[in-house]
């Protein structure tokens, strides 16, 4: 699946959900796996940086 789900953690870092091939849609996975109450965004995988050197400093803007 070429989509990712991004949400902000309590410390302002971000988590990125990588969907598995499980038969659920990206929306269904977001509804199930994003922590309750967290705002999330569905983005293209191409929007996720590939250089993870400073992964913990990534922010959602």
């Amino acid at each position: 699946m070429d989509k990712r789900i991004v949400y902000k953690n309590d410390d302002n870092t971000i988590s990125i959900i990588i969907p598995a091939d499980c038969g659920l849609t990206i929306e269904e996975i977001a509804a199930k796996d994003v922590p309750t109450g967290k705002e999330y965004h569905i983005v293209d995988v191409a929007d996720i940086p590939t250089d993870r050197t400073f992964r913990n400093a990534w922010e959602w803007q």
């Binding site: 988590s15 959900i17 598995a20 091939d21 199930k32 993870r52």
Partner: protein, 180 residues
């Protein structure tokens, strides 16, 4: 109701009843030798398009010995390095893997575990020049007796790393399985 009775060589007999309803129905017997299944409790029966009364296996087959065996309830293999993070290579009963941060991932189950007392096993490959990798359920913070960071019926979080920085760092490739 009309009936056909087939008497055996001894006292037993089999009765085939025709229902007292209008219409013509045809039962075609297979052109082969074998037994006809009934809806008795010991045999599976065809109920519409679904099979019912199927026997439930008591245990998985084991190669030898009598110790019971148990199958994994979920598994996944995914990347954890700078170039492989974000890739799920294979999985079962896993809806997604959350990349929480460097060296941290949460495995989310498609169907929840019956309880949170399950066992987690996993291995990961080396990263860069570090071949001594590890995967743990809780990130050590010096307090001792560390409890799992997240281990619920719906998800488990793992921390991983290598011999240089211990945990919360890159590894190459992770595999995980859940038993319980």
């Amino acid at each position: 109701m009309a009936s056909i009775k087939l008497k055996g060589d001894t006292s037993g007999e089999i009765t085939i009843d025709v229902p007292a309803v209008a219409g013509t129905n045809t039962i075609t017997l297979p052109a082969t030798t074998g037994n006809v299944l009934t809806d008795g409790a010991a045999l599976p029966a065809i109920d519409g398009s679904a099979l019912t009364n199927l026997p439930v296996p008591a245990a998985l087959s084991t190669a030898s010995g009598s110790a019971p065996s148990y199958s994994a309830r979920a598994w996944a293999s995914f990347g954890g390095g700078t170039s492989s993070a974000g890739t799920i290579y294979g999985s079962g009963n896993v809806s997604s893997v959350t990349d929480n941060a460097t060296g941290q991932a949460t495995i989310n189950f498609t169907t929840a575990m019956p309880n949170a007392n399950y066992s987690v096993v996993g291995m990961c490959t080396g990263y860069s020049n570090y071949n001594s990798t590890l995967m743990v359920l809780g990130s050590a913070d010096g307090s001792g007796n560390q409890q799992p960071t997240t281990k619920t019926t719906s998800a488990v979080k793992v921390h991983f790393g290598h011999s240089n920085t211990v945990v919360n760092d890159h590894v190459g490739y992770l595999t995980i399985a859940i038993f319980g």
